[in-house]
Amino acid sequence: MNRKYELVYVVSPDATDEQVNELHTQVEGIAQRMGGTIDKTENWGRRRLAYEIGRHKEGTYVLEVIDGSGELMKEIDRRLKVTDLVIRHLVVRVDEVQSVIDRTRTKRSDVSRRRRVARGLPPDRQPGEGQRGDPDDDRDDRFDLGEDMR
């Protein structure tokens, strides 16, 4: 059964662009061999690390969204562990979390629509309705005023 995973790996700053690309093709190769596909690849470029890893202070971040089996991810994980060029990597399963997020989103909009209909309003928010401007800002002002007044 195929699941969706996110893989982020941090490549050593010494690596050239070609080496980074090569790593990507390696990962892709493993994925294809084991019946998986890469849905998305994102290169975040070189970023500062929040703390030193080894002696490195920077790293190139690459994100891959992979559709595949657990065995595939295990293999990729193993390969990245032995690759010296990769200084850190993380595999996270995302399909379940994503479905939960989608469910809460649809549920929330459904509830709000139902309530609006019950109040005799059109189900969707009309333009120019509700709080003006940034709602967060608005609330802040009210609180600050209250504090000053006392």
């Binding site: 982020v8 929040a50 703390y51 600050d144 504090e147 006392r150």
Partner: protein
């Protein structure tokens, strides 16, 4: 219920306004209790469903200077979102997106 007591203990440092009112409240002005900004869960209020480890902009306010995770009693985050926040922060730390400690 979580009004005066919890504030007296926890409100010491972290930039919560209106400290001046505390004594007054004790002295007997029960009519007007100290004005306090109600704590709300940021994620519930802003309807953020996805607390993602990649989103450092979202996570950073919850890891102040010492880089420790801000406790619920101070941030006001609800239990569910604090749990999600925690996993997100821990993942981001693994990838060196967020520090474990301040150096």
């Amino acid at each position: 219920m979580n009004g005066r007591k919890s504030f007296g203990g926890g409100g010491g440092g972290r930039g919560r306004g209106g400290q001046g009112g505390q004594q007054q409240g004790k002295d007997g002005q029960q009519r007007r209790p100290m004005f306090r900004r109600r704590k709300v869960c940021k994620f519930c209020a802003d309807k953020i469903d996805d607390i993602n480890y990649k989103d450092t902009r979202l996570l950073m306010p919850f890891v102040p200077e010492r880089a420790k995770i801000l406790p619920r009693r101070i941030s006001g985050t609800c239990a569910m979102h604090q749990r999600k926040l925690r996993t997100a922060i821990m993942r981001a730390r693994q990838l060196a997106l967020i520090p474990y400690t301040a150096e």
